[in-house]
């Protein structure tokens, strides 16, 4: 059995496991006996691209072994807290999005392509912190801004996704927000209006994630950024989701959150 390294974002942790990404996603989302459930987002980590001094992996192969009954070792936590900053972007070989009933969608890295210009963006940060913010910056600009170590507020590396804003992106005051699924739309509208009226790049909408992210609201994909650049893990097109990843897409649309 192969030992895999996974970087979990919710919560932030580096985990060794003998399970494949699909098996690990199912296990991570619902546990062993369907006693719990919860959305999960994690990366496959290429061990060969990790800096030698980043983590102590010497014991991993010795400890991550099958159980006496032959079952694979499901999870061995190697590190928690400030994990992402130690893993280079290039080492993140695939992103796995897990619905709360355990369906896994695997997407690979790609060059970041600038999205269409809009006056406002809504970002959900996942790691190392998890506020939801509105910003006038596009994903590349936001990455540059939030990872700029010359600024007092910054992080060394970040994982975030842009969420759809609909008509609010261009018209926060009167744009139709009827069909947006976010709680407290009035507050979101206020934040966008405030953002437009001040010389400010970002404004916090929610201090931290209070519920699961509806994957169907993700606009473009997930981004991993640091001062050296940005990598995007783009979601498949709607047609591809309908045809090739239907089981995952159905679950992603059916989530009730917790």
């Amino acid at each position: 059995m192969t030992t895999h390294l996974y970087l979990s974002l919710i919560p932030e942790a580096l985990i060794a496991s003998m399970l494949t990404p699909e098996e690990f996603g199912l296990y991570y989302a619902i546990g062993n006996a369907k006693r719990s459930r919860g959305q999960a987002v994690f990366f496959s980590v290429d061990r060969d691209l990790l800096p030698e001094d980043a983590f102590d992996l010497s014991e991993v192969d010795a400890r991550c072994v099958p159980h006496p009954n032959g079952d694979p070792k499901r999870s061995l936590y190697i590190s928690i807290y400030r994990v992402l900053e130690k893993i280079p972007r290039q080492a993140l070989s695939a992103l796995h999005l897990v619905t709360d009933d355990g369906r896994v969608l695997t997407i690979g890295p790609s060059e970041h392509v600038a999205t269409e210009a809009g006056s406002a963006h809504l970002y959900q940060e996942f790691c190392p912190v998890s506020p939801r913010v509105v910003s006038t910056l596009d994903p590349a600009g936001f990455t540059e801004f939030i990872t700029d170590d010359s600024q007092p507020i910054h992080v060394p590396r970040i994982v975030f996704a842009e969420l759809t804003l609909g008509a609010l992106a261009t018209d926060p005051t009167t744009g139709n927000a009827e069909d947006l699924p976010y709680p407290n739309i009035g507050h979101l509208r206020d934040c966008l209006v405030e953002l437009g009226g001040q010389d400010k790049a970002t404004k916090t909408v929610l201090r931290q994630m209070t519920q699961e992210v509806l994957f169907r609201t993700v606009h473009g994909g997930f981004h991993v950024g640091d001062p050296t650049g940005i990598t995007t893990f783009a979601l498949p097109t709607l047609d591809a989701l309908e045809r090739e990843h239907f089981a995952w897409w159905r679950s992603a649309q059916s989530t009730f959150g917790q």
Binding site: K34, D100, D101, G102, F246, S254, T255
Partner: protein, 739 residues
């Protein structure tokens, strides 16, 4: 025997032949992939398991009641000797119709999904014509039962000629009770089954486990699919079978009473007119089925139009051809009777349209409920209840106008004691008009669960998006027809109830005649007496005289307290059935949780859940939980009749009918509106799936589930069963009562 009568058995055989033809054409279609066939097999096996259990229980009840009627007829001589057998055939034919409908529906779902892989029209055809099997079987068997009994009784029932028609029609009316008992179990038991499975599947599968709808990993998903068929095919079929035979027989009995003094030939024409109209409607329903077709890429409006072509086409044809038929038959007051028929048809359409308006997501009431979900579940519940209550107004006004006009058309616009029976016959014929095209109307109802199951099958089998789009469109159409179908069933139950109520007095006369024939005098509550053997004098009493002699006046405490009791029964029945769903769903929740806990590999899809166990739990719970409502419905007329006699029974029936009709309509429309408000949000409105608005709407939908599929439709049965039972035991009520 008038020659026109033979149209009844001929139409019956032709309707059954058409049903068989549609069934065999459907069976020639492929079930699709191995997965599709496997899923369909699970549903089919579950449906058979449910039916076996239900028929076992119904069999015991039918046998016990038949034995009781035998004792009343042959030992105490307070019952017509044919009643036990008429009762039994009514139950058996209704059960047979339900069985055939269920078998067809469970064979048709995978075939519909597979047909949708080719085109939307093919999917619609397979689903609709399979639904037509149920519709045509119900009317075919109903007409066959009526034809056989009418032929047997007119040929072999040895009775004085002047009394023959009246006695035969009132005797035949009693076989409606067999159908009523069957429908009680099918509709109420089925309603408890389907909602226990549905709520159980949703609460654990969707909300706790986050599994999507119709996912094979959910242990209750097959029970949920079985439930769709149990409630909306077998249950609806048995419900409308009872209404169908009930209105034809009640109208026949009212015709016999109305034209009692016009000579046997005229009287016979009035008696067979409702049967012949039913026969014509059955034939035109077959024709209407062929009108239903659609084009690729059809919108919901196009699909609704396709079904409308079939239903409305049959309606227009019957409106035209029934006039010609009545003219050819030489029925008295031809124009009045024809107008009453047309009024009945229009009333049915108005009720269906009102139900659609108040429950469809295309209209304001449902959109308002969806919008209320933005402020949480409490406002969703309030909006749904408010909208449901308002929705009662239109059908009630439609029924009020319809019955008033039908009465005046029947009586020739004369309101007097002498023409009252003619007016009541007009009301009966309006009910016949409403149900005349039941063959195709019921086809649209039975189509719903077939399309729903086809959608589930397509999802579970992972068919390509264009196919799922087609099955979704067919399913969505089924949601609309389900709501209008329920409205139609409730509206027809109201008219059936009224026709049965009017014919109750005729049964009371038969009960009194048994007393007079035994050589005793009969003394009415007001002191008026009839001497032994005075049958002609009894038959000549008009309706108002009977009311006066029995002191059926509003200020009579016997009437008032019984009316209160009837109104209370409608609420008690709703409460009991609703709690029954809650308890049965709780058992389902426990079982689904257990399976997730104890059976490894369900969530990864490596192991199939134990679907059969969930079906079994729902089946047993349904049969156990429906005992209380069944006892309530069966015991109330007996107890009230034994205490207060005829005035009490009339008060009970009126109280239950007036309250039950409104309450039933309210519950069905509230539930339908909550359901469609949720679906409206799931289309992406107000945040779509997973949003706070969606969570609130799901709560509304869950509350509405027992409203629309258990308690609401169950009230139809309560009203009709109590009326039927009162008719059957009229002889006992006349002979024995405390005050």
């Amino acid at each position: 025997m008038p020659v026109w009568f033979w149209l009844v058995p001929i139409a019956s055989v032709m309707a059954l032949g058409a049903a068989y033809y549609f069934f065999s054409v459907m069976m020639k279609e492929s079930e699709g992939t191995e997965t599709m066939a496997r899923i369909a097999l699970h549903v089919r096996n579950g449906a058979i398991a449910y039916l076996k259990q239900q028929y076992k229980v119904v069999g015991i009840v039918l046998a016990s009641l038949t034995a009781l009627f035998c004792v009343l007829a042959y030992v105490f001589h307070v019952q017509n000797p044919w009643v036990p057998f008429a009762f039994l055939t009514g139950g058996l034919f209704s059960g047979l119709a339900g069985f055939i409908g269920m078998r067809t529906a469970t064979y048709a779902s995978a075939r519909t999904a597979n047909a949708a892989r080719h085109s939307l029209n093919k999917g619609l055809n397979v689903a609709f014509r399979s639904g037509a099997v149920m519709g045509l079987t119900v009317v075919g068997l109903g007409l066959l039962d009526i034809a056989i009994w009418f032929f047997v009784l007119t040929s072999f029932y040895d009775i004085e000629e002047s009394q023959q028609v009246v006695v035969i029609t009132t005797t035949m009316l009693t076989f409606g009770m067999g159908a009523a008992v069957q429908s009680l179990f099918a509709r109420v038991g089925g309603g408890i089954f389907t909602k226990a499975a549905d709520v159980g599947a949703d609460l654990v599968g969707k909300i706790e486990a986050g599994i999507p709808e119709d996912d094979p990993r959910n242990p209750a998903t097959i029970a949920d699919n079985v439930g769709d068929n149990v409630g909306d095919v077998a249950g609806m079929g048995a419900d409308l079978y009872e209404s169908y035979v009930g209105v034809i027989l009640a109208s026949a009995a009212l015709g016999a009473a109305a034209y009692y003094t016009s000579g046997t030939d005229v009287q016979l024409l009035a008696v067979i007119a409702p049967m012949v109209i039913g026969a014509l409607g059955a034939l035109l329903s077959v024709v209407g089925v062929f009108f239903v077709r659609t084009k690729e890429g059809a919108t919901q409006k196009d699909l609704l139009g396709s079904l409308g072509r079939g239903v409305n086409g049959s309606g227009v044809l019957i409106a035209v051809l029934s006039l010609a038929l009545l003219w050819a038959m030489g029925v008295p007051n031809m124009w009045g009777i024809w107008l009453a028929l047309v009024i009945g048809l229009l009333t049915g359409i108005a009720i269906g349209q009102a139900a659609e308006y108040f429950t469809s997501e295309s209209y304001k009431p449902t959109k308002t409920i969806a919008s209320a979900s933005k402020t949480g579940p409490a406002t969703v519940i309030i909006a749904g209840i408010g909208s449901g209550m308002l929705s009662v107004a239109v059908p009630v006004i439609a029924v009020v106008l319809g019955t008033s006009l039908a009465y005046f058309f029947g009586s020739g616009f004369v309101y007097s004691t002498d023409t009252m029976n003619l007016g009541l016959y007009g009301i009966g014929m309006a009910a016949v008009g409403m149900l005349s095209t039941l063959g195709i109307t019921l086809a649209t109802d039975a189509y719903g669960p077939i399309a729903d199951n086809a959608g589930g099958n397509a999802e579970m089998s992972g068919l390509p998006p264009e196919v799922r789009q087609r099955t979704d469109a067919l399913d969505s159409l089924g949601n609309t027809t389900a709501a209008t179908g329920k409205g139609f069933a409730i509206g027809s139950a109201a008219l059936t109830g009224m026709a049965l109520l009017a014919s109750y007095i005729e049964e009371v006369k038969i009960g009194i005649s048994h007393v007079l024939e035994r050589g005793s005098d009969f003394i009415f509550p007001d002191g008026t007496s009839l001497a032994a053997g005075a049958i002609d004098e009894l038959q000549s009493l008009n309706l108002m005289e009977m009311m006066t002699y029995f002191e059926v006046v509003l200020i009579n405490p016997k009437v008032i307290v019984s009316m209160f009791t009837g109104a209370m029964l409608a609420f008690a029945f709703s409460g009991i059935t609703m709690n029954a769903v809650g308890r049965a769903a709780g058992q389902m929740v426990d079982e689904v949780r257990r399976q997730f806990r104890e059976i490894p590999g369900i969530m990864s899809g490596e192991t199939d859940p134990d679907y059969a166990r969930c079906v079994s739990i729902s089946t047993k719970a349904a049969q156990r939980e429906m005992m209380m409502p069944a006892i309530l419905a069966l015991a109330a007329p007996v107890i009230i009749g034994l205490i207060f006699g005829v005035p009490g029974v009339l008060g009970l029936l009126i109280g239950a009918m007036v309250t039950g009709f409104s309450l039933s309509m309210f519950q069905a429309n509230s539930g339908g509106a909550w359901d469609n408000a949720k679906k409206y949000i799931e289309q992406g409105n107000h945040g779509g799936k997973g949003s706070e608005a969606h969570k609130a709407a799901v709560i509304g939908d869950t509350v509405g589930d027992p409203f629309k599929d258990t308690s609401g439709p169950g009230l139809n049965i309560l009203v009709k069963l109590m009326s039927m039972e009162s008719i059957v035991i009229a002889g006992v009520t006349v002979a024995v009562h405390l005050v």
